[in-house]
């Protein structure tokens, strides 16, 4: 047994590296059994910790807080980089509601539970609530993507943007709670309000401004390709740290800066994105390992029962209630509200925030930490394990798009087209057409076709073959169409077949609604007949349309299939819409059915699909 390993020099490097390696390898296994990846990292950290096998002692909350801040800043910046402008616009309003009022409501309700279960006064209770009030961006998206689950677009977007935006609010409430506990009630109401304003507005201004400045800087300087991501990372941390120094929210600033940068054309975009992909992973693993190390499981026991009580209140009362209230004005269906409530996953942030009371040396500070830890663990186990089935039960899944194997290259700056390489998938639509008649999206040109390492003469090429490499120049907005051309067609056995989700037929969103009405026997009033389908659906849906949104017309239903620039491009027509509202009885029946099916399957050995 490796007793008495102290951090320092070679020990630190060797065991630290082993831990990271172990995390990745174990993580791979965990996806097989569907366990949430983050749980593995956290568990491994605990296993290495002082009550585990390696018995590493790590109790420095100050170091943990600093490293946690850096890691969070990187993760949030990366989250911003990946959030498409359209996603943000689609979900900004509901997400902002959830990220502010929602967080406050959650904190208050959980605070009441903490008063009840822990016997805290209201400030203490509120502080407990505040630490666990925000959802975790990384946890949510890792889970959704890890399962390859595609969720209705607006639901997905709301969860994504919410989790990017709600950390500042939770941080703010936690800081207020700590200040109240440290300085008593000397803190004045208007002081809190002023702080709040500086946090949010300052954070927004610094983030947006900093993001724009960073894009400019990167487009201006000529340096080695490998240095661009370093510039971006340093700038992101500077934006975070700078904002924090002047009392603004660095968490908000760094997310917004990422959002700006990810949606502007800039040099070295691919290198920077790849770099941050890796760096965010490392931060994710590092942060969970560290928090796992930081906790002393033995001490958790004392607070275990009340903490589980608070976790259950959070999952079953606070989150659903907050979501329900915040989403009231936005016309989400009941199933969507239920799903958004269920995916209120907690990740590293609560544990990180709960180290603040310890650092501030608040009496009983460790209780906050322990409670947050148990809440996160419970949330990862209960909610994390069930995201996929929940989406299926509530019928919010969209058919999965087959990933095309695409290689991106950095094109010259100032040139508005990208260069992309594809490996032609067996069974892809491109194979069904003669090479000379290949249906290429507009402004796309094929530069070269490489077969078994040999560049082909395109004049004599009859047809593409699976495994060929095709090199194209294409405007960025056409890359998606190219993906479909070269990727394998949608899996026939995909759980949610396209027909089931998008209906029998497809029509263009630019068509006149009146024309469609006569074909499918629904009635519209005079001015509705003159609208395009896109306009009609926009009007009926009542918010920006997202893929999967439905409009009922007479006996049929129209389904948003593709959106571009706020307009519905492609519309699915479902002739016999089933009742998609899920009643409680139906839900129960389906859960039982699934359990029975799983039980039976276990006897026959593993089989995919249901």
């Amino acid at each position: 047994m490796l007793t008495g390993v102290h951090f320092g020099g070679e020990h630190f490097i060797f065991f630290g590296a082993l831990l990271v390696l172990g995390s990745v390898l174990l993580g791979m296994l965990s996806t097989r059994i569907g366990a949430p990846l983050l749980l593995v990292f956290l568990g491994l950290g605990m296993l290495a910790g002082e009550d585990g096998v390696a018995q590493v002692r790590f109790n420095d909350f100050g170091v943990a807080y600093t490293f946690g801040s850096i890691a969070l800043a990187v993760i949030l910046f990366d989250g911003g980089l990946r959030t498409k402008r359209r996603t943000f616009e689609l979900a900004a309003a509901p997400a902002i509601g959830l990220a502010t009022i929602g967080v406050l409501l959650t904190a208050v309700i959980c605070g009441a539970a903490a008063m009840l279960f822990l016997g805290f006064n209201w400030i203490g209770g509120f502080l407990v609530g505040a630490t666990i009030a925000s959802t975790d961006a990384a946890a949510v998206f890792l889970l959704l993507h890890q399962r390859g689950t595609e969720i209705k677009e607006r639901v997905n977007a709301t969860l994504e943007v919410e989790s990017g935006l709600n950390d500042p609010m939770a941080v703010f409430l936690t800081v207020i709670g700590v200040e109240l506990l440290s300085f008593g009630n000397r803190l004045l109401g208007w002081e809190i309000a002023a702080q709040f304003a500086v946090q949010l507005f300052g954070g927004a201004v610094i983030g947006l401004g900093g993001g724009l400045a960073l894009v400019r800087l990167i487009n201006r300087i000529e340096i080695a390709a490998g240095l661009y991501p370093i510039v971006a990372a340093a700038a992101a941390l500077a934006i975070f740290g700078g904002a924090q120094l002047v009392g603004a929210s660095g968490f908000l600033a760094v997310y917004l800066a990422g959002l700006v940068m990810g949606n502007r054309k800039h040099r070295a975009a691919i290198v920077i994105n790849r770099f941050f992909d890796g760096l965010a992973w490392l931060c994710q693993i590092g942060m969970f390992l560290m928090l796992g190390l930081l906790v002393t499981p033995r001490f958790l026991l004392a607070d275990l029962l009340p903490a589980i009580g608070i976790a259950l209140v959070l999952i079953f009362v606070a989150r659903p209630l907050a979501v329900f209230i915040c989403l009231l004005p936005f016309r989400f269906s009941r199933e969507e509200v239920l799903f958004i409530s269920w995916v209120g996953l907690r990740g590293a942030v609560p544990i990180f925030l709960a180290s603040l009371p310890v650092l501030a040396e608040i009496p009983g500070g460790f209780t906050y930490f322990n409670v947050a830890f148990v809440v996160v663990l419970t949330s990862l186990v209960v909610q994390g394990w069930t995201v996929g089935p929940a989406a299926r039960l509530l019928k919010l899944e969209l058919p999965q798009q087959e990933e095309a194997s695409r290689l991106d290259f950095d094109a010259l700056t100032g040139y508005d087209r990208d260069i992309a390489g594809y490996r032609v998938a067996p069974n892809s639509p491109a194979l069904m057409q003669k090479f000379a008649n290949l249906h290429l999206p507009s402004r796309v040109r094929i530069l070269s076709v490489i077969r078994e390492g040999v560049v082909q003469n395109r004049e004599n090429l009859e047809r593409l073959e699976p495994g060929d490499y095709v090199l194209c120049v294409a405007p960025p907005e056409q890359l998606h169409a190219l993906d479909t051309l070269f990727a394998a067609r949608k899996r026939v056995d995909a759980r949610a077949d396209t027909d089931e989700v998008f209906g029998e037929f497809t029509v263009s969103g630019e068509m006149q609604a009146g024309q469609l009405a006569s074909f499918y026997s629904f009635t519209l009033n005079e001015d509705e007949r003159a609208l395009t389908l896109s306009e009609l659906m926009n009007r009926r849906i009542g918010h920006r349309p997202g893929v999967g949104d439905r409009v009922s017309l007479g006996l049929i239903e129209l389904i948003v299939r593709e959106v571009a620039k706020g307009k519905v491009k492609m519309v699915g027509v479902e002739l016999e819409p089933e009742d998609r509202r899920v009643t409680m009885a139906e839900l129960k029946r389906r859960v039982q059915e699934r359990m029975r099916a799983r039980w039976l399957r276990r006897g026959k050995g593993r089989r995919r699909g249901d």
């Binding site: 497809t506 026997s521 492609m570």
Partner: protein
């Protein structure tokens, strides 16, 4: 609604030789005109008008052109198996070789939609489609298309 209520044996073309979507629709309109007694031009125009709204090529090599016609007294179906697949602007861009045309009276509402859904469900059965691709015997095709719903409900 059963396919046998829509489709008669003379509505099945086992080996249609065409080279384009338009030509396929024209041939089918011609056959439909013979069966229904309505002018070929009107049928062709109706089908074409529907294609302008968006292709009826639903993917996997299948198309279901359809429309409503004044003067029709009941639902009429036609089926064609093409000798060579033709480009139909389908969603998945796969050329089409199985076409089911459905024509409905002007006033048909729910019946039309139900029949259309029924046809779509039938042609979603990949097993049946493969069998239909494998034969150019009109009687065999008719039998495959009109098999009772129970056997292909899945």
């Amino acid at each position: 609604m059963e396919i046998s209520e829509l489709l008669a044996p003379d509505g099945v073309i086992a080996n249609l030789k065409v080279t384009s979507k338009k030509q396929a629709l024209r041939e089918l309109a011609q056959r439909a005109a013979r069966i229904t007694g309505l002018p070929e031009r009107a049928i062709f125009d109706t089908l074409l008008e529907r294609e302008r709204l968006g292709t009826t090529g639903v993917g996997h090599g299948i198309a279901i052109p359809h429309g409503k016609l004044p003067g029709l007294t009941r639902l009429h179906g036609l089926f064609a198996r093409l000798e060579q697949p033709v480009d139909f602007d389908s969603i998945d861009e796969i050329p089409v070789d199985l076409i089911f045309v459905l024509l409905a009276p002007e006033g048909a509402g729910a019946d039309h939609l139900k029949a259309l859904a029924r046809v779509s469900r039938l042609l979603r059965d990949r097993g049946i489609c493969e069998k239909m691709r494998g034969t150019d015997n009109p009687d065999a095709l008719f039998a495959l298309l009109t098999e009772p719903a129970a056997s292909n409900a899945a």
